[in-house]
């Protein structure tokens, strides 16, 4: 009787454990089964490097969107990572306790805000500001741009970068810090030249996770990036990302157009796969 219970519970645990793996496997199969033939039909070169996306004329080049995603993500890294890392250092090593009690929940809250709310904030506050800026300096652009999207994404990746970096910094053994102090180093020097380098791979992991978050973000980006399916022209002009491409056209696409969108998702999926691989490599090195 007892053995029976054991066996049943084992099976239940096994099924639970398999559920997530099954989900990933199913998504993979769906994506590749639908996407890869489309890439074959369009031609891999045409599809990945083609500069024109005009489904009505059977032109399916997603190079502008690949670039768009890369630009916007790079911008988010430039805007968000330095602030995030410095915030993490501050919170782990400089923050007075009473302030930490407010800061930590505030950062966590930032992570919990739905992306559509971020997007709305971007649309109502940031886009008009950037538009005014463009007018003032006589730049082309109506405010929806690479710049705006980068800035907003920079804010959105902050909690990820801060959280993971802070954990990495806290994981550095105190003996490094104390060893540096015992040599006559100041608190600041010990933190920046001993503890920070020791946390390097963990902080890199934080950046990689941030990249993953930025490149996969959809809703907020659609609301403020302009979404023109053309080669990016400039920092203050509109751009369309891979994610935006899928969402904007999925509703009415059919046949090859639809398959091309799924193929776009394949490309995005491969990007995320690479990022996750990088992340686990960095994690392993940290140990």
């Amino acid at each position: 009787m007892k053995d029976m219970k054991e066996t049943i519970m084992k099976i239940i645990f096994l099924i639970s454990a398999c559920a997530s793996i099954l989900a990933v496997a199913l998504i993979c199969i769906f994506l590749f089964a639908n996407g890869v033939p489309a890439i074959g039909k369009i031609g891999a070169g045409e599809f990945l490097l083609g500069k024109t996306w005009r489904p009505n004329n059977n032109l399916f080049g997603i190079f502008p969107m690949i670039l768009g995603s890369i630009y916007v993500t790079a911008g988010a890294i430039i805007a968000g990572v330095p602030i995030g890392i410095l915030t993490a250092i501050f919170m782990a090593k400089f923050c007075p306790k009473w302030l930490y009690r407010f800061m930590k929940p505030a950062v966590d809250l930032l992570a919990g805000i739905p992306s559509v709310v971020y997007g709305f904030f971007g649309l109502v506050v940031m886009v008009p500001l950037v538009r005014q800026f463009c007018r003032a300096f006589e730049l082309n652009g109506n405010g929806s741009s690479i710049f705006t999207a980068s800035l907003l994404l920079g804010i959105m990746i902050l909690p990820t970068v801060i959280g993971v970096s802070e954990a990495a910094i806290r994981a550095v053994p105190d003996q490094y810090y104390e060893g540096a102090l015992a040599l006559g180093a100041t608190h600041e020097r010990s933190v920046f030249f001993t503890v920070f380098p020791a946390a390097k791979s963990g902080i890199m992991a934080a950046v990689v996770l941030g990249v993953g978050r930025a490149i996969g973000e959809t809703m907020a980006v659609i609301m403020i990036a302009g979404n023109q399916p053309r080669m990016p022209k400039g920092l203050f002009e509109g751009v369309r990302t891979l994610t935006a491409n899928i969402v904007l056209e999925m509703g009415y696409a059919a046949d090859l157009h639809r398959e091309a969108l799924i193929a776009t998702a394949v490309v995005l999926f491969v990007f995320i796969l690479i990022i996750n691989l990088l992340f686990s490599l960095l994690k392993r090195r940290q140990k």
């Binding site: 003996q175 104390e178 060893g179 015992a182 006559g184 030249f193």
Partner: protein, 249 residues
């Protein structure tokens, strides 16, 4: 003149009275051993000498500690104090960087950036710590790849690189094998020509072997302080005798 003059030192961790009215004069160019059972305050006193206790929350100190007549809890800059009073920890704690960078860390901290100068300091410190021959061909490799005994001598070399006057050693051999231990002991004897060494140890033989003076602590009080030979052969206090002969501790 004495290197350290400690007078009426009391130390509290919050409500806990960890050191009680300590009065000691520690002479230069000698090895002074702090002995006593765990929790007797010997490490606490050691850390008071370079103010590492500042890091402990709720730590409060009254009394005076003079280094060459200067009050280290007075106007003295704490980073400058720690440059003059180096420390070697119980567990070897090389930084996760190259052997070279470990040694150069201190000098760089204190403003030396000339490559040639740093090269000289690195070589001299490693030679002084009797580890140069073992590592001279792998200065660029990570210090974490060394054995425990080598790491500890590297830490000693790192401490020497800032040219301290005093070297505090907190049970420097407790994590090491007998061969590494004897190397560190020989090194300490060698180093006392140029440095004042204060060493906390749990190892009675070690204290007897290498120290000139011995201080015996019990429950935060100095029970006995004297020439090592005298403390170990004819202790003045019954408690010292009991501890040394292994009746408690």
């Amino acid at each position: 003149m004495d290197k350290f003059t400690i007078s009426n030192l009391d130390l509290y961790y919050d409500d806990f009275h960890a050191l009680k009215d300590v009065n000691l004069n520690l002479p230069p160019n000698e090895i002074t051993a702090f002995i006593g059972p765990s929790g007797c305050g010997k490490s606490t006193l050691l850390k008071s000498l370079n103010r590492m206790n500042d890091l402990v929350e709720g730590c409060r100190i009254t009394g005076k500690v003079l280094l060459d007549g200067e009050d280290i809890y007075g106007d003295m800059n704490v980073n400058h104090l720690r440059k003059r009073v180096g420390m070697v920890f119980q567990k070897p704690n090389p930084f996760p960087m190259s052997i070279y960078d470990n040694i150069a860390y201190g000098p760089r901290t204190h403003g030396i950036h000339s490559r040639a100068k740093l090269d000289d300091i690195v070589e001299k410190s490693l030679r002084d710590a009797a580890i140069w021959e073992e590592v001279k061909d792998r200065l660029k490799l990570s210090a974490l790849g060394m054995s425990g005994g080598q790491q500890q001598r590297l830490c000693i070399a790192r401490a020497l690189a800032v040219e301290p006057e005093v070297l505090l050693m907190d049970e420097p051999t407790s994590a090491l094998d007998p061969i590494s231990t004897s190397k560190i002991e020989d090194l300490a004897i060698e180093l006392k020509k140029d440095y004042t060494i204060i060493m906390v140890t749990h190892n009675m033989q070690q204290a007897a072997r290498i120290s000139d003076k011995t201080v015996f602590f019990l429950l935060g009080e100095v029970i006995e302080y004297g020439e090592t030979e005298q403390v170990f052969s004819v202790p003045n206090n019954k408690k010292t005798e009991d501890y040394i002969t292994g009746r408690f501790g």
